[in-house]
């Protein structure tokens, strides 16, 4: 079947078997191997990407279900500068081996897009579907909190530059 989707702003069309999972489409067809397969049983969240803006486990979505959709993977998070979530993870040591990190970052960016000022409980709740085998949960939570501050700081800066 022919499947077309916009991945990180670039439209790609491929002919795939209907049973192709979104994660394999991204890794094998689009060549974006930043999206990791952890459990392959819908549990770990390592494969999380944004599908039309929503965080989803790409091992539990068929590529054909994403036909016509916009997808953002970890490769698409950084724009001219690091995404606040990437910056936050860097500053607060939110990653150890890095395996769960793409999923953690996309889940965090989804949280901040729907709730710009989450409480610590909101953050922990949002990360419920993410398993970090290195068990670095505390630093991940701190990273998301830092990301939220960075978002606010950048907004203030932007406002000040406009006024200045």
């Amino acid at each position: 079947m022919s499947v077309t989707m916009t991945v990180n702003g670039t439209t790609i069309t491929r002919s795939v078997e209907p049973r192709t999972l979104l994660v394999h489409f991204l890794r094998d067809e689009a060549g974006l191997t930043g999206t990791h397969v952890g459990c392959d049983t819908s549990q770990c969240g390592a494969c999380t990407v944004l599908l039309n803006g929503d965080a989803v486990k790409s091992c539990t979505v068929l590529a054909v279900q994403a036909n016509g959709a916009e997808v953002v993977t970890i490769e698409g998070l950084e724009q001219e500068v690091l995404h606040p979530v990437q910056q936050g993870f860097w500053e607060k040591h939110g990653l150890q081996c890095g395996f769960c990190t793409p999923g953690a970052m996309l889940t965090a960016s989804y949280l901040l897009s729907t709730n710009p000022h989450p409480s610590e409980t909101d953050i922990r709740d949002a990360l419920d579907g993410l398993l970090c085998r290195c068990t670095g949960y505390e630093t991940i939570v701190r990273s998301v909190q830092r990301a939220q501050e960075i978002m606010d700081e950048r907004q203030t800066e932007e406002r000040e530059t406009k006024i200045g």
Binding site: M1, E17, P18, R19, L21, D40, T41, S42, G45, T48, L51, D54, A55, V56, K57, T60, V61, L62, V64, Q65, N67, T107, Y110, L111, D125, A126, D128, G129, L130
Partner: protein, 283 residues
């Protein structure tokens, strides 16, 4: 992991689904959010030759609130139930139960219709929908029919839905004015599914129970209503003693499978007590 090969069709109307289902009913499945079906197919516990995607059928989407009921399209994702203001107003119990399903990613994909049709005895939403007296709209080759949710679940993973039928919407009567409601879940530590989930609401008039409903999921072979405890409660003053008696009634009415040590009966007693006590403290 890959599923076995299948062909895939994207339906644009309920009519498409009904027609396509008839071509090969035994080997065809409807694909909604895919969060029960795809994991099963990946593990090859389910092999399907044809999948019909119902994700782009306008008739199956949307939440409409009228004077006396809320109508929820079968393909409404959990995240929409959590956020929708009319659900919060007319059936807060549904939003409360949807909020504790799986995790954020699961709630972004799973649908109310998928949850009901899959009929996992540990699904969360059935308890809320039983407690609210939901009615199901079903379409099939013989036309449309309505079914009370009380009779829908037959056994684990088995409902009254015939091959070839589609669940199209869920109708929920507006919750009574002044009702207090709760969904109390004890999640399994690994899976997150409820070991028990208690959905309950009560209307109190001068501290007396005017009306109430209790429904329980996770612990029985199908989700069930606690009819005799509901009856017992009506007209009683809503005290600790009465609550304990009602909880005892729920636990003793049921015979739980694999419960020689009485763990499930006890869990049932404890969770019904906690849910009702929490209702007593609300308001």
């Amino acid at each position: 992991m890959f599923t076995t090969p299948f062909d895939y069709r994207n339906a644009h109307s309920v009519q498409d689904v009904i027609e396509w289902l008839q071509e090969d009913p035994d080997n065809t499945k409807i694909l909604a959010g895919g969060h029960s079906l795809l994991p099963l197919m990946k593990l090859r516990l389910s092999t399907v030759s044809h999948l019909i995607d119902i994700g782009q059928i306008p008739e199956l989407q949307g939440i409409v609130l009228s004077d006396n009921e809320l109508r929820i399209g079968a393909f409404t994702r959990y995240v929409q139930l959590v956020r929708d203001p009319s659900v919060a107003l007319a059936a807060p119990l549904v939003a409360e139960a949807a909020r504790v399903i799986g995790d954020l990613q699961v709630r972004n994909r799973g649908t109310i219709g998928g949850s009901l049709c899959h009929a996992d005895p540990a699904a969360d939403l059935p308890a809320a929908l039983l407690a609210l007296g939901a009615e199901l709209e079903i379409a099939g080759p013989a036309g449309k029919r309505r079914e009370d949710i009380d009779s829908f679940f037959l056994a684990p993973f088995i409902t009254t839905l015939a091959p070839g039928e589609v669940l199209t919407a869920i109708r929920i009567p507006r919750i009574a004015q002044g009702a207090r409601s709760i969904y109390l879940k004890r999640p399994h530590l690994a899976s997150g599914y409820p070991i028990i989930g208690v959905a309950a609401w009560v209307v109190l008039r001068d501290a007396q129970v005017d009306s109430c409903r209790i429904a329980i999921t996770g612990i029985g072979s199908v989700p069930f209503r606690a009819f005799s405890a509901e009856q017992m409660l009506v007209g009683q003053t809503f005290t600790r003693d009465v609550i304990l008696r009602a909880a005892e009634q729920v636990a003793s009415d049921q015979s739980f499978d694999d419960d020689d040590d009485g763990y499930k009966a006890n869990l049932c007693r404890v969770y019904v007590t906690r849910a009702l006590a929490a209702l007593g403290n609300q308001g």
